[in-house]
Subunit: 230 residues, 2 copies
């Protein structure tokens, strides 16, 4: 999760950066409103922490300019207790308003709340379609002409690796490390058996492959191209 901090006081930038990074966030920090707007466009952060008392542009102006191209959640930080400032910032498009000095605990909680709301932006692959075959990575469900297929964990993981690297040649060693773990790399018999059951369940033949091609001595390759969603 990327967080953009916009504040003109360096010590606050540093404090926020360390606290946020300690909680696993990726942090970018700038000191002016102008830079803030540009950074919001360039970095595509998942959340924006914005100080209202910036030297160059007014805070509400920054919000408005960001809102012109992005729906990123904005939490405003400000020393001003003034009601009209809060109202103006919120109506300009801010998502929350925290007055300095603030408790880090509370800020983190409000940050989590804001991120949770914007959650459904999961750019997860919807479902990959190859002819009558459908692979739903999110639900971990594979169907063939409508009928759900039952895949064992290893089978599914192998299929997942293949379809997410379609067209690429995947070597034996790479596949083994990826599916079985770091300690593996020479057990090509594992691959043979699982590629076989996969081909069987997916309705592919080794002699005339439409999905999985074996590259002798090297590895395997998923050749089917995903069709566009309806």
């Amino acid at each position: 999760m990327k967080v953009l901090v916009v504040d003109d006081e360096p010590q606050i930038r540093r404090a926020l950066r360390t606290s946020l990074e300690a909680h696993g966030y990726e942090v970018a920090a700038v000191g002016t409103g102008e830079e803030g707007v540009l950074a919001a466009a360039d970095h595509q952060p998942d959340l924006m922490l914005l100080d209202l008392g910036l030297p160059d542009i007014d805070g509400t102006e920054v919000i408005a300019r960001v809102r012109a191209f992005s729906e990123v959640p904005v939490i405003v930080l400000s020393v001003r207790e003034n009601q009209s400032d809060k109202v103006a910032a919120l109506d300009a498009g801010a998502d929350d308003y925290v007055t300095k000095p603030f408790a880090m605990e509370e800020l983190l909680a409000r940050l989590r709340a804001a991120l949770r709301r914007s959650g459904p932006d999961e750019p997860t692959q919807p479902t990959l379609t190859f002819g009558d075959l459908e692979v739903d990575l999110a639900r971990r469900l594979v169907t063939r002409s409508g009928e759900p297929l039952h895949l064992t964990p290893t089978e599914h993981q192998l299929l997942e690796v293949l379809v997410t690297h379609q067209g690429k040649l995947l070597t034996h060693q790479w596949l083994l490390r990826r599916v079985w773990g770091q300690g593996y790399g020479t057990e090509t018999t594992y691959l043979r058996t699982y590629i076989r059951t996969l081909r069987k369940k997916l309705g592919d033949e080794a002699a005339a492959p439409a999905l999985i091609v074996t590259e002798p001595g090297v590895g395997y390759r998923w050749i089917a191209e995903a069709e566009a969603e309806a």
Copy 2:
């Protein structure tokens, strides 16, 4: 725009009602957490104002129960300045936290901000129907061909998690963390026993499952599709 007010003090309910109605909102007001959860299910409000100091149920519990079936924005009103209360409420699923006494102007602005970002979300039905099985998430009531079923708290929570993620494959670890808490993740025997009693009470069989499918080595999946409401 419909706003649901949950507060045990009648004068605050009245004050909020008049102020909100003066600004064009449609207002429903109740005095207990229990009524609040039911009203959130029945009225399908666009926003919820919730007092934390309710006489019957704890405020965070109200939020959690509402979050089981609805994504409606919740703004918490509270006299408690305590940081841990804020954090708990926000992490339970609240969208904002305002401490009493509050300025009406600010509350209205936060309300507008919450409504603006909630956008067009489809109202999830508070009661799900699967054949002769009905699950009322708001009332925490499960009936099978009309007969009410008695579920223990853990059983109900497990069922709730399953039906609200229908079709998805839910990992052992994910389910354990979700139902039992963060500290768990390996106790698959818990899952086995509770899945068993659930299947028994819901009338499902492990051999020929119509509701809960076990994915060996991975987790469980709720396969029944919710029918449209009458």
